[in-house]
C-alpha cells in the first residue's frame, strides 16, 4: 500500500489545513505510524486534542473515521461483533415446528443476524479508514487483550464464520487519559505519543484558528494568561478546550484587551475548582 504521507512536513501542513495545529512530536509520530503500519497510543491530560487528532487525520486523508468509545464493561459483543440475539430468538420461535435444527442453525448464524461493531467494521472496510479507540484506559484488562490481538494480526476469527482478515491496514489511534497503566504488551505494540498542554505559541495559533472573530491581540493575551496559570500548583490545570471556551466567552463579551477585573470575573470558565480560582486570582494580582 502506498504511504499516506509524503513527509513529516506534509503531515503538519495537512493537519493545519483542517484546523489542527500539530507540533513536531505529533506530526513526526503520525508520519512514522503510517510508514511502520503501527497503531499510535496517544496519552495525555484531558482536553489536549487527542481525540481531535484522530478525527483530523481522518479528515485530512479523506478516510472514514470509525470510533470505538471505550467504557468500563465494554466487551467483545460491543467492540467486535454480536449475534442479534433477539432476532435469532424470534426466528427460532417462528420456525419451531417446520425446519430442522441444522437448517435453523445455519440460518441464524448468517450475515443477516450478525451485528458488526467498530473493530470488525474497521477490519472489513473496503475504503480507507482511521480507527479511533477512544479512552482505552477505561476498559478492563481482558478487553485490552482482545484489542491487542486484533491490533497485532489485523484479523478476527468468528467461530461460526471463520477468519476475517483486513483488506488494508487502517491507521489506528488509541487514546488514554492515563487513569490506569495499560499492559506492557499493548504498549510494546504501539508507538507512544504523549500530548501535553501546548506551548504558548501553538496554543495561540489554536485559539486563532478555532475561535471566530478573535483578534490576534486577544488570542495572544489569552495564551499568555493560560500559560501563567498552568505554572501554578493547581488541582486541575486548564485544558485546551477550556482555553477555547474562555476565549469564546471573551469574544462574546466584546472584550478586546483583558483587564484584571474581566479576567477575574471569567476565571470560572477556565478553572473548575474554587480553590484554583482563588489561587489564580491572587497570583495574577487581580484580587
Amino acid at each position: 500500500m502506498a504511504p499516506r504521507f509524503e513527509s513529516v512536513q506534509s503531515v503538519r501542513d495537512g493537519l493545519k489545513a483542517v484546523n489542527y495545529l500539530a507540533d513536531d512530536g505529533i506530526a513526526g509520530v503520525a508520519f512514522l505510524a503510517d510508514r511502520l503500519g503501527k497503531p499510535i497510543l496517544v496519552e495525555g491530560p484531558a482536553g489536549t486534542g487527542k481525540t481531535q487528532l484522530a478525527k483530523s487525520i481522518a479528515e485530512m486523508t479523506g478516510a472514514r473515521l470509525i470510533r470505538l468509545q471505550c467504557y468500563e464493561g465494554l466487551d467483545e459483543s460491543k467492540a467486535l461483533y454480536e449475534w442479534n440475539y433477539k432476532k435469532q430468538l424470534l426466528r427460532i420461535q417462528a420456525d419451531k415446528n417446520s425446519d430442522s435444527w441444522s437448517d435453523v442453525h445455519d440460518d441464524i448464524f448468517g450475515d443477516e443476524f450478525l451485528l458488526t461493531r467498530p473493530l470488525l467494521e474497521a477490519i472489513t472496510a473496503e475504503e480507507p479508514v482511521v480507527l479511533l479507540i477512544d479512552e482505552v484506559d477505561r476498559v478492563e484488562v481482558e478487553t485490552e487483550a482482545l484489542l491487542l490481538e486484533i491490533l497485532s494480526e489485523y484479523q478476527v476469527s468468528i467461530p461460526e464464520l471463520g477468519t476475517i482478515t483486513a483488506k488494508q491496514i487502517p491507521l489506528v489511534f488509541l487514546t488514554s487519559n492515563n487513569t490506569r497503566e495499560l499492559s506492557e504488551a499493548l504498549k510494546r505494540r504501539c508507538l507512544f505519543l504523549h500530548v501535553d498542554y501546548p506551548q504558548m505559541d501553538r496554543e495561540k495559533e489554536i485559539v486563532l484558528t478555532k475561535v471566530e472573530g478573535i483578534t490576534e491581540m486577544l488570542a495572544d493575551q489569552v495564551a499568555r494568561i493560560v500559560r501563567s496559570i498552568r505554572q501554578l500548583d493547581l488541582k486541575k490545570s486548564p485544558s485546551v478546550s477550556e482555553t477555547l471556551d474562555w476565549a469564546r466567552t471573551l469574544v462574546l463579551l466584546g472584550i478586546n484587551n483583558i483587564d484584571a477585573e474581566q479576567a477575574k470575573e471569567t476565571l470560572h470558565i477556565l478553572l473548575k475548582y474554587q480553590s484554583d480560582i482563588a489561587k489564580a486570582a491572587k497570583e495574577l494580582s487581580v484580587d
Partner: protein, 480 residues
C-alpha cells in the same frame, strides 16, 4: 548510524528504561524513515518507539542530547575560529544590530566585544525573543566564561555555574522590566507586569538551556558520548529516594504524583466495584426479560459494595523523613475519596492532629504547608521521640481507634534512644482492623544505631520499605 543507535539504546537501558527487543527493532526501522536533519521529528519518532512512559521522557531526552547533539547542521560546535552556518547568521545579525546603532563599534565579531557590549546584546536578544541570537550568545558565553579545558575531569554543572555567574541573569530581569515599561511609556498594570515577567522568565530559561546544551556538546566532543552519558545518569522519578531527593528531583516527584493518584483512584474504584459478581438480581432480570417476550435473555447481577476503610495516618515529620511524610500525606489525601474517613497526626517529640488543615481547603499543598509551619509537634527539644508521641496519641485519641480503622505509622523509627513505648502499637493493633508501618530507610539500615523499627513492627500487620514512589504506589494498592 546503527552503531550509534545501539550505543544509544544500551545507555537508555543503563539509565533504567525498559527497552524490549521489539522496541529496539522498531527504533531501527523508525530511523530509516525520518531524516536526522529534522531533528525534533527525529527525536519524537525515536522516542515513540522507545519510551512508553512519559515520566521517562526526561531521561530519554538527556541521553538523546548526548548521543545525537553533535549531528545536524545547526548544532555544529564552534572550536575557536572554525564556525559556519549559524555563526554566519549570527554575524549577519550582529551587523544588522550595529547598523541600528545598538551594538558594538564594528565587524570585529564576537570575540572583540567588551563584556558590557555582550550583555547589551544579550538583553536585546531576550527583549525581542530572538532565538538565533540567543543561541549564538550562549555559545559565546560558554567560550568566554566557562573556562573549559580538554581532559579536565569536571562536571557540566561546574561550567554552567561559571558561565551563568558572569552573566547576572537575575539582574537582567529588572533591566528587562524597566526596558518594557519604557517601551510602553508608563506603568504596567499588575496583570500586565505578571505576564511580561513570565514571558521573560521563559526566555531566560531557554537561554540557560542553550548554555547547558553548548557545554554538553563540548563535553561530548571532548570525552565521548558514552562517558558523558554515564556522568549524567540519574534515577527515574519513581526511583528517586524520598530521603535524598534534590530540589529539582522533588519538583519532578511532585509532578509524578498527580498522574499516579489519578491512576490509583481509578484502579481502586474499579477494584471495589468489580470485586466479584454478586447473586442474580431477580427483579432486574425479569424487568429486562419483558423486551424479549418474557424470555430471561439478559441475566442481571447484584454488585456487592464493600465498605470503604477508615484511615488513620501517624507520621514522623522530623528532618530527614519529612519529605517522605509529606508525600505520603499528599497521596493519601489525594485518594481520600477512597476512604470513608481520613485522620492525620504528625509528630516529632510532641504530636498534633492535622486533619482539620485538610478539611478547610481543597488545596493539599496548602495544608501541607500549614503542617510545616503551624503544627504543634515540639514537646521538649524537637528531636524525634516516638515513645512520647505515641503515649500522647494513645491517651488522647486511642479511644477513637476502632475495628474499621486502618492505621499507618510513618517513620524511620530512629528514637534517639528514648523509651519505645511499643505497647501503644500493640494496643492499637488490638483495636484496629489493620496496622502498618512504612519506613523510608533502606532495609539494610533497619535496627541499626537508634532505629528500633522491629520493636514496633512486631505488633503490626507488616513493615514496608517505602523509599520511593514506586514502593509507595505498591503499598497503597496493597492497602485497599
Amino acid at each position: 548510524m546503527l552503531d550509534l543507535l545501539s550505543g544509544f539504546i544500551i545507555e537508555l537501558r543503563n539509565a533504567g528504561l525498559p527497552v524490549s527487543l521489539t522496541e529496539n527493532l522498531d527504533a531501527m526501522h523508525a530511523i530509516s524513515h525520518i531524516p536526522l536533519e529534522d531533528r525534533e521529528a527525529f527525536k519524537y519518532a525515536l522516542g515513540a518507539t522507545l519510551v512508553k512512559n512519559n515520566a521517562h521522557w526526561r531521561s530519554f531526552e538527556t541521553v538523546f542530547e548526548v548521543y545525537f547533539s553533535l549531528r545536524g547542521p545547526e548544532y555544529k560546535i564552534i572550536d575557536g575560529e572554525a564556525g559556519e552556518g549559524s555563526l554566519d547568521d549570527f554575524m549577519q545579525q550582529l551587523q544588522n544590530m550595529s547598523q541600528q546603532g545598538e551594538g558594538s563599534g564594528g565587524a570585529g565579531g564576537m570575540d572583540a566585544l567588551t563584556p558590557e557590549e555582550l550583555m547589551n546584546i544579550l538583553m536585546n536578544a531576550l527583549l525581542n525573543g530572538d532565538q538565533a541570537l540567543m543561541r549564538a550568545l550562549a555559545k559565546q558565553a560558554v567560550q568566554r566564561f566557562a573556562g573549559m579545558e580538554p581532559g579536565r575531569p569536571v562536571g557540566g554543572t561546574y561550567y554552567l555555574y561559571r558561565t551563568l555567574r558572569n552573566l547576572d541573569l537575575d539582574g537582567m530581569m529588572d533591566k528587562l522590566m524597566d526596558a518594557t515599561k519604557q517601551q510602553v511609556g508608563g506603568e504596567l498594570t499588575g496583570l500586565e507586569e505578571r505576564l511580561e515577567r513570565d514571558e521573560y522568565n521563559h526566555r531566560i530559561e531557554q537561554f540557560k538551556q542553550e548554555v547547558e546544551a553548548e557545554i554538553r556538546r563540548k563535553l561530548v566532543a571532548d570525552r565521548g558520548a558514552e562517558a558523558m552519558a554515564k556522568t549524567l545518569r540519574k534515577p527515574l522519578p519513581e526511583d528517586v529516594e524520598f530521603m535524598h531527593a534534590s530540589r529539582d528531583e522533588m519538583q519532578n516527584l511532585k509532578k509524578a504524583l498527580q498522574p499516579l493518584t489519578r491512576k490509583l483512584a481509578a484502579k481502586l474504584a474499579r477494584k471495589r466495584r468489580h470485586g466479584r459478581k454478586g447473586p442474580l438480581d431477580f427483579r432486574n432480570t425479569v424487568r429486562h426479560s419483558l423486551a424479549y417476550g418474557g424470555v430471561p435473555a439478559e441475566p442481571k447481577f447484584k454488585y456487592p459494595r464493600p465498605a470503604k476503610p477508615e484511615l488513620i495516618v501517624v507520621a514522623d515529620i522530623s528532618g530527614s523523613v519529612a519529605a517522605f511524610a509529606r508525600f505520603t500525606l499528599m497521596l493519601v489525601y489525594a485518594l481520600s475519596n477512597q476512604f470513608s474517613k481520613v485522620r492525620a497526626f504528625v509528630f516529632i517529640d510532641g504530636i498534633d492532629e492535622v486533619t482539620d488543615y485538610f478539611k478547610k481547603t481543597e488545596d493539599i499543598s496548602e495544608a501541607i504547608h500549614r503542617i510545616n509551619t503551624e503544627a504543634d509537634v515540639i514537646w521538649v527539644d524537637g528531636h524525634s521521640d516516638y515513645g512520647h508521641a505515641f503515649e500522647v496519641f494513645w491517651d488522647k485519641f486511642g479511644k477513637e481507634v476502632n475495628p474499621k480503622s486502618t492505621v499507618m505509622f510513618l517513620g524511620d523509627a530512629r528514637n534517639n534512644y528514648h523509651a519505645s513505648q511499643a505497647w501503644v502499637i500493640k494496643e492499637v493493633k488490638q483495636k484496629a482492623r489493620k496496622v502498618f508501618w512504612l519506613n523510608p530507610e533502606p532495609r539494610s539500615y533497619w535496627n541499626t544505631g537508634d532505629s528500633i523499627v522491629s520493636e514496633y513492627g512486631t505488633h503490626t500487620d507488616g513493615v514496608f520499605e517505602v523509599r520511593n514512589l514506586r514502593q509507595l504506589e505498591a503499598f497503597v494498592e496493597h492497602l485497599v
